[in-house]
Symmetry: C2
Subunit: 345 residues, 2 copies
Amino acid sequence: MTTPLRVGVLGAGGLGKAAARIIGLKQELQLAAICDSQGIVWAEGGLEASLLAGLQGDLVEGVRQAQAEGESQGGVAVATAVEARHCEDPLGEMIARAPALDAVLVALPNLPNQFIPDVVTRFLEAGHATVFVDVLKRTTAVELMFALDPLVKRARSVVLTGCGATPGILAAAAVLAAQSFVEVEKVDIWWGVGIANWEAYKATIREDIAHLPGYSVARAQAMSDADVDALLAHTDGRLELRRMEHADDVLLQRVGVVQDRSQVEVGGVMDTRQAKKPVSTTMTLTGITYEGRRASHQFILGDETTMAANVIGPALGYLKRGVWLKAQGLHGVFGCTEFLPMVVK
Amino acid sequence: MTTPLRVGVLGAGGLGKAAARIIGLKQELQLAAICDSQGIVWAEGGLEASLLAGLQGDLVEGVRQAQAEGESQGGVAVATAVEARHCEDPLGEMIARAPALDAVLVALPNLPNQFIPDVVTRFLEAGHATVFVDVLKRTTAVELMFALDPLVKRARSVVLTGCGATPGILAAAAVLAAQSFVEVEKVDIWWGVGIANWEAYKATIREDIAHLPGYSVARAQAMSDADVDALLAHTDGRLELRRMEHADDVLLQRVGVVQDRSQVEVGGVMDTRQAKKPVSTTMTLTGITYEGRRASHQFILGDETTMAANVIGPALGYLKRGVWLKAQGLHGVFGCTEFLPMVVK
């Protein structure tokens, strides 16, 4: 068996916790560290996913409780020393440990747009060659990531950006679909998300609220939980979003699937009150074949799959691809549309 | 504008002719040469697609006629000198010209299984570093291609194998779909092909007949056109195939999407009497998410797209990817499941 890749996860919200759980199921990956805005949890030999299983609220507190419970019950094997502590600058702590990480999965909320690009810049300026994968959604944010390309190359690092579901595997599926056509007219992505308990995905939902007419990233960021509750009460818990600023456009334009970003439209429906998806998440690419025929190819996600499975699974597949790229000496910033993600065992 | 890639096409049947037409629509590609079993057509400055537009039967004869008609009408601009001649060994002629080609698309019928691997071996043994793309379908044939890996590496060349529709973009879509799951149970590919005039795709249909119960590659190869006609008369022009020996299995196993090849099933319906597809071509991947939920993702090709568009479009996208791989010094044999094809402008 090969040595597992040591992964650091930035963020311990809904997506960060899902990442910890999925990493725990993979032989090829080891969760070496995870942080939130209050602290860091670190284990040289890899963190047991069970320590994070029931996590609510503060990361460090939760892990300490899980450790205490595990010890008292003798049921949870804490195979390795785990360090869990609050600190002023969890990112700084993670950066100090970067030499012991093979890759970093960025599962932080991205408000404002430059937040995650700034985080990655901090890592890069510390000088360790690393592989970063993000699940950014907004066009502006992904453009900021691409602007880091010279810095990433100097740091002999790899950044894979927009590597969740949309953008992510749905945009990659559009690259496959485009192959049958000599002209692509339109790429439509229409997603459905069902979340039984919106509190677990506060940041994601705030990011979506920012897409609503009359809202902005700044306004969504400033909303209290009570404000969000009030908004959702007006819409029966549903958010329907159209013509979202989603980076599928820049990622598909970059590789030539579309000429113009306006050919890509992303929208969807989020139901914050039940887990059942209100619509099936579907990528539809319409084009003209060399014989002059118009047709549409589709990529449809199974309704039973959750946002977390469709975002974090791909992100980890692209993470393995990023490690491969770095091993080949192919440094720089790449989008989800440039390579197939790899299967992680 | 960058210099177009000079492409040689091996084979001038339905798929070879489609390749010539699609290459003619691409700024980034130039058709430098095409051959069939009787001869070769070659143009230093690139062949006009119009010379091949109405081609039926013998390649060289057809091009000569098109040239003569073009000259007499003064309507077709034959911008460059075209050499069209019958010869004993068209492959040998193509190999002699390999230094002037950036990539070779293999659109030959593959009966028997080792035919195309042998053709590629001949090229490689001549010592020119080249990029090959094939649209092979059978597992055995693709395995023979992978066995060439040491030779391909020594020749500093790149082979991309199984790069049509199935295997091809449908298997690549399965790699994307697999990302949402921690366990893949099954990949089902069910294709529909409608061909108004089976004579244009004789070789493809013979390859499919070889999959029928009671038939073999050798038996299909030995059938006369009249035998094929008689068989099709019995089935009202339809061929329904199940559990085909299709290389999607080895290509998905190789990258870890499935553990066992029996998890991949390929079948479909070919209607040889009408262009309308009898069923929609669909890849369905069923798996279990990290939360323990079973679900299926699907990739569905638009019914209006033809086999030629869905096979040759992807093959040219993978060809561009192959040229990229060679430029990076990444030599060897790769499957359609290892990289996204690139968009060719």
